[in-house]
C-alpha cells in the first residue's frame, strides 16, 4: 500500500521545498511529478503499472484539490495542495500558512533567523535588512542566506558582511509609491517617496507614473462599462492578459470615476507647475497621495 504525505499551505517556497525533501528522504529510485487536474489520468496510468525491478517510486502531485486514488504498490505519494486535506491513510502532513508580517509580530524575521541556524550562522542582526531587501519572497531571502553562508564565516553575521554580498533586488521605483497608495497606506507611500527623492528630485517621475495609472484606470472603467471582457480590455490597453489579471485588475475600482477625474486634473496641474519650476508641485503631489490613499483604504474597509 502507498505511503501518503499531505503538504498544504500558501507559502509556495516552503511547500515546494518540503515536497522535494520528502521525496529525497524516501530514498526512492524514481520521482514522478504530475500537475493536477490536467495530468490526473497520466498519474493514474503510471501508478497502476508495476514498478520496474520492484524499486520504489515517489509521486508528487502538485495543485491537488483532493487526494486521488492511491497506488496499490509500495510507493510514496506526496499530495501538494493550497487547502488543508485529510485522508485515512495519511502518514505525515505539513501545513505552511502564509507568514504574517505585522510590525509587532513579523514571522518572516523568525523564519530568517531559524534558516540561519540551519546554516550555522546568526542572522539576528541582519534579519530586518534581509526582509526589507527581498520583502516577502522567501525564495529570494533563502538564496541570499545561502550566499551569505558560503561567503561569510560562521558565527554572527554583521550588516557590513551582508552589504558586501547582498543582491539589492528591491530597487525603489515610483511603483512602490503607487502600491502603497493602492494599499491605502499614506505613511508608507511617503517613506518611499522620501527615499526616492534622496539623490535627485524625482517629483516629475512620480507624477508621470501616477498619471499613467489613473489614465489606465479611467480607460478600464470606460471599457468595462461598454461590456468588454477582461481579455479584450487587456488587449485594448496593451498589456498581457496575465499581467492584467494579476497586477492591474486588483487595483480597479479602488477609486470612483469622479475621484479618478479629480486626481487626473490635479496631477496634470502639478505636472505643468513642476515643469515650469514651481515648487508647489511637490506639495500638490503629496496632498494627492494622501487623498488617494484614504479613498483606497475606505474602499477596502467597505469591501471587507
Amino acid at each position: 500500500m502507498a505511503k501518503l504525505t499531505l503538504i498544504s499551505g500558501e507559502e509556495e517556497f516552503l511547500v515546494e521545498r518540503a515536497a522535494f525533501q520528502e521525496a529525497a528522504s524516501s530514498l526512492a529510485k524514481t520521482v514522478y511529478q504530475f500537475k493536477l487536474p490536467s495530468q490526473l489520468s497520466n498519474y493514474l496510468q503510471e501508478s497502476s503499472t508495476i514498478p520496474k525491478d520492484n524499486l520504489s517510486r515517489v509521486f508528487i502531485l502538485w495543485g491537488a484539490d483532493d487526494v486521488p486514488l492511491l497506488s496499490s504498490f509500495d510507493d510514496d505519494v506526496i499530495v501538494v495542495s493550497k487547502k488543508k486535506l485529510s485522508h485515512a491513510s495519511c502518514r505525515k502532513s505539513y501545513d505552511f500558512p502564509k507568514l504574517k508580517s505585522f510590525d509587532d509580530k513579523n514571522e518572516y524575521l523568525g523564519w530568517i533567523i531559524k534558516e540561519g541556524e540551519n546554516f550555522n550562522i546568526d542572522l539576528a542582526r541582519v534579519a530586518v535588512g534581509l526582509f526589507v531587501n527581498s520583502r516577502k519572497s522567501l525564495r529570494k531571502i533563502f538564496s541570499e542566506i545561502r550566499k551569505i553562508s558560503v561567503l561569510v564565516p560562521s558565527g554572527v553575521v554583521t550588516p557590513e558582511d551582508v552589504k558586501a554580498v547582498l543582491c539589492f533586488s528591491a530597487e525603489l521605483t515610483p511603483k512602490e509609491v503607487l502600491d502603497a497608495v493602492c494599499e491605502g497606506r499614506p505613511v508608507k507611500a511617503f517613506a518611499f517617496l522620501d527615499k526616492l527623492q534622496e539623490n535627485n528630485d524625482e517629483t516629475g517621475w512620480v507624477i508621470a507614473f501616477l498619471q499613467r495609472h489613473i489614465i489606465q484606470m479611467l480607460l478600464i472603467e470606460r471599457l468595462r462599462s461598454s461590456g468588454l471582457s477582461g481579455q479584450e480590455i487587456a488587449e485594448k490597453i496593451g498589456v498581457h492578459p496575465f499581467v492584467y489579471r494579476k497586477m492591474v485588475e486588483p487595483k480597479v475600482g479602488l477609486w470612483s470615476q469622479d475621484s479618478l477625474l479629480k486626481s487626473l486634473d490635479t496631477l496634470c496641474n502639478a505636472d505643468l507647475l513642476h515643469k515650469v519650476g514651481n515648487s508647489s508641485a511637490g506639495l500638490m503631489l503629496e496632498a494627492e497621495i494622501v487623498r488617494l490613499s484614504e479613498e483606497a483604504l475606505n474602499d477596502k474597509r467597505g469591501r471587507s
Partner: protein, 260 residues
C-alpha cells in the same frame, strides 16, 4: 524653383549674399515657423548648386558629425557645398557645442545655414559665429491670399496668423483626423482613441504643437460650445501644450477627453 510669397527683401538679400564672389561661411535665418524659410533656401540652393551639394542636416546627436563628413569632400557641381540645419533652436546644448566646432572652423567652400524661430535659444558662442542674420516675418493678408489659392476654411486662415505653411499642415490628413476626433468628443462620443497627430508628439518643443492647438481651438469654435465643460477642457489643453512645451501632449489629451 517654386515661388515663395512674402519676405521678398529677405529672399533678395540671401540671393545677393550667396551669389557674391565671396559668399559667407555661416548664415542664420530667423523667423516664425511655417512661413517658408526652409522651402525657399532649399529650393534656391538646389537650383544654384545642385542637389549633390546640398545637405539638410539631422538635428539629432549624429547631425554635426555627418555634416563634417559632408564638408570634407569637394563640391560636385556648384561653387561651394551647403548644409542646412532646420529648427536649429531645438538642438540640445551638447549638439550646439558640436555645431559650434564646425561653425568656428567651417572649411573652405562650405556654408552652414541655421534656420531658427528664436535665436535666443542658441548658446551665445554659437550665435556669435553668425555675422549675417536675415529676419523673416509673418505674411500680410494680401500675401497670404496670393499664396493660398484654394482656401476652403477661411476661419482657419485667420487663426494661422500669417503662416501659410501652418494652414497647409492643418489641412493635411492627420490634423483633419484630429479635428474630427475633437468634434466627435465634443458631441458626446466616449470612444477611446488617440489621433495620430497627438501620438506623434509626446513631449519636447515641436512646431506641431501650434498646429494641434489651432485645430482643437477651431473645432471647439465650430462646435459652438456644444458641451461647455468639455469645450473649456479642450481650450485649456490648447493653452497648456503651448505654454509648457515639455508637457506630455498625450496625457493632457486624456485629461481633456475624460472630462464630462
Amino acid at each position: 524653383m517654386p515661388k515663395i510669397s512674402g519676405n521678398e527683401n529677405s529672399q533678395r538679400e540671401i540671393e545677393t549674399l550667396l551669389k557674391s564672389p565671396n559668399p559667407p561661411r555661416n548664415l542664420l535665418l530667423e523667423g516664425p515657423d511655417y512661413i517658408g524659410k526652409k522651402t525657399f533656401i532649399c529650393s534656391f540652393l538646389e537650383d544654384f548648386l545642385g542637389p549633390e551639394d546640398l545637405h539638410v542636416a539631422d538635428t539629432g546627436p549624429e547631425g554635426a558629425r555627418e555634416a563634417r563628413d559632408f564638408c570634407d569632400s569637394h563640391p560636385v557641381l556648384g561653387s561651394f557645398r551647403a548644409i542646412v540645419v532646420d529648427e536649429a533652436d531645438r538642438l540640445s546644448e551638447p549638439a550646439q557645442d558640436a555645431w559650434l566646432k564646425l561653425c568656428e572652423e567651417t572649411p573652405d567652400g562650405c556654408l552652414v545655414i541655421f534656420i531658427v524661430s528664436d535665436r535666443g535659444l542658441l548658446i551665445p558662442p554659437l550665435l556669435s559665429r553668425f555675422v549675417h542674420i536675415i529676419r523673416w516675418n509673418c505674411l500680410s493678408d494680401e500675401e497670404i491670399s496670393n499664396c493660398l489659392e484654394f482656401v476652403t476654411e477661411p476661419a482657419l486662415v485667420a487663426l494661422c496668423d500669417g503662416r501659410p505653411g501652418l494652414y497647409q499642415t492643418i489641412m493635411s490628413g492627420p490634423f483633419q483626423e484630429l479635428r474630427h476626433s475633437v468634434l466627435k468628443i465634443l458631441s458626446g462620443d466616449k470612444s477611446i482613441f488617440i489621433p495620430e497627430a497627438v501620438k506623434k508628439i509626446k513631449s519636447g518643443r515641436s512646431k506641431e504643437r501650434d498646429a494641434i492647438s489651432i485645430v482643437c481651438r477651431s473645432a471647439v469654435i465650430e462646435s459652438k460650445l456644444l458641451n461647455r465643460s468639455r469645450s473649456r477642457r479642450f481650450l485649456q489643453f490648447c493653452a497648456d501644450i503651448i505654454k509648457v512645451p515639455s508637457a506630455n501632449v498625450e496625457i493632457h489629451w486624456h485629461r481633456a477627453c475624460f472630462c464630462d
